[in-house]
């Protein structure tokens, strides 16, 4: 559908249907699922970052009131398969409970099952574990060194991934370029930290041979992984997709938790539940995000045109692999950002360490990479003495150059970066903003303007899997929708995944209503369990507007086509000679008309009136392939995600040099995600993403000390932005439709977050530039700012004295 077509419901400012149940406190989260005879799990964590388990004595715990079982890692490992690895690293084995050895402080060693969570916690304290401490490694560079103690001795080293890609003539471009610069930036380990922790409940019915699972989950192929690990057929596992998920943004992938409770439910013949408490979640929910060092070198000329880039990204993925190393792969699909950088050398390294395991975090590695790219552009501007926005404009891909093939093999769909920037500068009064900054500086404050421009690859095809693991042949990442018009003419459609606040029910209903020209509010959306579901890959990779929206669109088109065929048959005319309007089909020549109710009656009751070969009923399904990225990688190049949303951030930050507490005085974002399906949802995603980025850049970090202990275990130390830290944000809209999607829509689930850390870093560095200092590690905490300023001032004083 081209952007010129008039849309009635898509892009209109409609309410989000999910909101009603949530404002009434009637969401149904995993902890709200009432199961008769439910038992509760508490886990015992390791106190050591690395230690051999010499013995586990559960006798005293078993005698505690209400206790039903104490499960050790050894026993669970015998009964289940190890959890899946993304990379081909068979000796990095991962079990839900530690087997023989613990590999990070907090790792779960024993699971205790009791009548209540409180009783299970009481009993867990009585489990006695004897440990023999082992050498451990926390630091990323140290882990990368061949002399470090391997976290997995069988694997032989801490290296999980060490792959270098060269796209284009990097050496030649570097040799030809008159200017080079290099730098290091560090993205501290943070995460999305949803307010609801991960939780899962399972119940085994031996007579029906069905394992029912309710979970706070956002995970592709979740049921498959439970079945594999438990060694049961996949059609014995029934995951209930109608559980509301209390926030995820990538990380809710509690497979180890799910295997523990599923095994216990089968073993004990009672429903079993594990809801992480905050400490379980922070320390060992295996839900931390990227922890990454970037070494970047760029080759450019005196005009600030960047010709080539070398980037080494070293990620400390923690004690186990899972899918987390793939977070080094996804950014390959936008490795040059919005710029015409002609060649890139990318060295992706993932190392294990004795920190908690990582999981997918909003953007899947893209936000850290954007921070590195944007820092490079700021530094180039400083080197050539040009305005930072001007340098960006000079390097941007131009609107007429799309679709644009980047060196790593992805073709960007569309964009108009220059226009978005111009609109933001006009809206914000950039010259006035600079004057405001200078006035703040004159008043004795530190003040800086931050800028970032970046892309949000969207549509999620998972092409990084085969790119980083040759044994992986994934080339589809489909999504589905089924629509049924019942015997009374009411429409019900299905989605086949859980949601964690993205408004998928609203999305599907809006799209179907648009195509069928019926009020979306009258369409029921349901979430069948996984045994009744069509294929889905869950809401990852900023994909649902494109993929669920696409599947719903195509299903609705099939339904419409069936109605048209049915009606044309009644009229005795060709399908091309009828008009579909608001559910009624008419033929101008014969002046015949068939209403919605009449189609329904014929389809449901009058087989004798159906065209030959047409199935009775009004039911359609569509399983949608991702619009691009259908081929396996070739020569280290691959078409990653189909769509590329653009965002441009402009921020003014000021702070007292003695205190160092940044205040965001102005925040403007220009956002182009193509055709917006629901403006309220997209706005919320963008504002929430910015808030999350403010956390990652100023406040949040999982800090480990030199003893391997995590210091930030509660919300007293791991600080989430409150309403005081998040400013009013002004959004400037632009719409460049994608040519690859049904309405021209692109993704927006990661918007804001992908560029705000870079923008905030840019602002703070602009603020302290007059002092001759800069910050190269996120988060930039208040204490770091005031300390660095004090040190700089002391240094200046000393210089003056000398």
């Amino acid at each position: 559908m081209s952007s010129g077509v008039h849309l009635k419901f898509v892009s209109s400012n409609r309410r989000v249907r999910e909101d009603r149940r949530f404002v009434a406190g009637q969401g149904r989260y995993v902890a709200d699922v009432a199961l008769e005879g439910l038992l509760h799990v508490a886990v015992l964590p390791s106190q050591h970052p690395a230690a051999r388990i010499l013995s586990i004595n559960t006798a005293e715990a078993m005698k505690m009131p209400g206790v039903h079982y104490v499960l050790t890692g050894e026993e669970l490992a015998k009964a289940t398969e190890p959890l899946m690895n993304g990379l081909d690293t068979p000796n990095v084995r991962r079990f839900p409970l530690a087997v023989g050895q613990v590999r990070y402080a907090g790792e779960w060693v024993v699971a205790v099952v009791a009548e209540s969570r409180a009783q299970a916690e009481d009993a867990a304290e009585k489990v006695k574990v004897e440990y023999e401490p082992l050498p451990y490694v926390i630091d990323s560079e140290e882990a990368y060194s061949p002399s470090s103690s391997p976290v997995h001795a069988e694997h032989g080293s801490n290296l999980l991934l060490d792959k270098t890609f060269v796209w284009g003539e990097v050496d030649k471009h570097f040799a030809e370029s008159p200017r080079h610069l290099s730098f290091r930036v560090v993205w501290g380990r943070s995460s999305t930290v949803p307010i609801e922790t991960f939780g899962v409940a399972a119940k085994w019915d031996p007579w029906r041979e069905i394992l029912d699972v309710w979970a706070s989950i956002q995970m592709p192929k979740y049921a498959d992984q439970i079945a594999r690990s438990l060694r049961i057929p996949l059609n014995h596992v029934r995951v209930h997709n109608d559980v509301d998920v209390g926030g995820s943004y990538g990380v809710k992938r509690g497979i180890k938790q799910s295997v523990i409770v599923s095994h216990l439910a089968c073993l004990l013949g009672r429903p079993v539940r594990l809801i992480e408490d905050r400490l379980d979640n922070m320390r060992a929910g295996d839900a931390h995000g990227p922890d990454r060092i970037f070494d970047v070198e760029v080759a450019f000329n005196d005009e600030g045109i960047v010709k080539s880039m070398k980037m080494r990204a070293l990620d400390n993925v923690g004690a186990y692999a899972g899918r987390s190393p793939f977070q080094l792969g996804k950014p390959i699909g936008a490795i040059v950002g919005p710029y015409k950088i002609e060649s890139v050398k990318y060295h992706a390294v993932a190392v294990t360490s004795n920190k908690a395991a990582q999981e997918a975090v909003r953007g899947f590695g893209q936000a850290p990479t954007n921070y590195a790219i944007e820092t490079a552009i700021d530094k180039v501007a400083a080197a050539v003495g040009l305005d930072r926005i001007e340098v960006r404009r000079r390097n941007f891909i131009r609107a007429e150059e799309f679709p644009y093939l980047i060196p790593s093999g992805t073709r960007y769909d569309s964009g108009d970066y220059h226009t978005v920037v111009a609109k933001v500068l006009a809206h914000a009064d950039y010259e006035g903003l600079k004057r405001e900054r200078d006035e703040l500086r004159a008043s004795g404050l530190c003040a800086g303007i931050g800028i970032s421009a970046c892309l949000e690859p969207s549509g999620g095809n998972s092409a990084f899997e085969p790119l980083l693991n040759e044994k992986n042949t994934t080339s589809t990442w489909m999504e589905s929708c089924r629509i049924n018009v019942d015997g009374l003419g009411f429409v019900t459609a299905t989605i086949h995944t859980t949601s964690s606040g993205q408004g998928h029910e609203t999305l599907a209903a809006t799209v179907i209503g648009e195509v069928l020209q019926i009020n979306p509010d009258q369409i029921r959306i349901v979430r069948p369990d996984t045994l009744s579901s069509l294929p889905s890959n869950s809401p990852v990779g900023s994909r649902m507007a494109i993929m669920l929206g696409g599947a719903a669109f195509h299903a609705a088109q099939k339904l419409k086509a069936k109605i048209i065929r049915l009606a044309a048959h009644q009229f005795g005319c060709a399908e091309k000679d009828v008009v579909y309007e608001g559910g009624t089909v008419s033929n101008a020549a014969s002046k015949k008309k068939l209403t919605w109710a009449e189609h329904v009656t014929i389809a449901h009751r009058n087989f004798h009136l159906l065209p030959e070969g047409m199935e009775p009923g009004l039911e359609v399904t569509h399983v949608m392939q991702v619009p691009t990225g259908t081929q396996l990688p070739k020569d280290g190049r691959v078409q990653m995600y189909p769509c590329h949303s653009f965002e441009f951030h402009l921020v003014l930050i000021a702070f007292d040099p003695e205190i160092g507490k940044p205040t965001i005085r102005r925040y403007v974002i220009g956002h182009d995600c193509g055709t917006v399906i629901n403006p309220r949802i997209v706005k919320g995603m963008t504002l929430g993403g910015i808030a999350h980025g403010i956390g990652a850049s100023l406040l949040e970090e999982f800090v480990y000390d030199s003893e391997g202990q995590m210091l930030t275990q509660s919300f007293m130390d791991y600080l989430l932005p409150s309403s005081h830290e998040v400013p009013h944000v002004e959004i400037v809209h632009h719409c460049t439709p994608s040519p690859f999607t049904v309405f021209g829509q692109k993704g927006s689930g990661e918007s804001g977050y992908l560029g705000s850390p870079a923008a905030i870093s840019s602002a703070i560095n602009d603020a302290v530039a007059p002092l001759g200092i800069s910050f190269s590690k996120l988060p930039i905490r208040i204490a770091a700012i005031s300390d660095a300023i004090a040190a700089a001032k002391d240094g200046n004083k000393n210089k003056e004295k000398a």
């Binding site: 989000v16 909101d19 404002v23 009434a24 307010i195």
Partner: protein
Amino acid sequence: MKVKLNVNGCQREADVEPRKTLLDTLREDFLLVGSHAGCEHGVCGACTVLVDGEPSRSCLMFAVQADGYEITTIEGLAPAPGELSVVQDAFCETHGLQCGYCTPGMILAGHALLEHNDSPTREDIVEAISGNICRCTGYGQIVEAIEFAADRLRKANTPRGGRS
């Protein structure tokens, strides 16, 4: 031990361990699961209920301490099944939520503010919700919701106090 609690205008009784929190009691003994456990150490505000009209952390209060107070949970705000209060409806209008997990606490905080301030400034609203962490929205549409609700309440020709 036995506790008698006044929850949403009804007298409720439960037999609880002295160490049981008000949050767990509301959820497990009274099946009022709209109050949520977020951090269970008094920071995030997902467990917020009103105690004599003031937003309070039900995860930091024992059920036995709540004896004698009027407790209002999110289930007590809707005027009738399927009908929303002005504040609840305002959250729907501005989409002041996403996953809904912090929402009951956020709405109770907004409701409590508007009970004693019908013309809050943006700063008043930011302060009133600053003890409730939302990870989805970045707070923008929550602030808008409370502004919108305040406007509607000011224009409504109904006496204030009690249920909105």
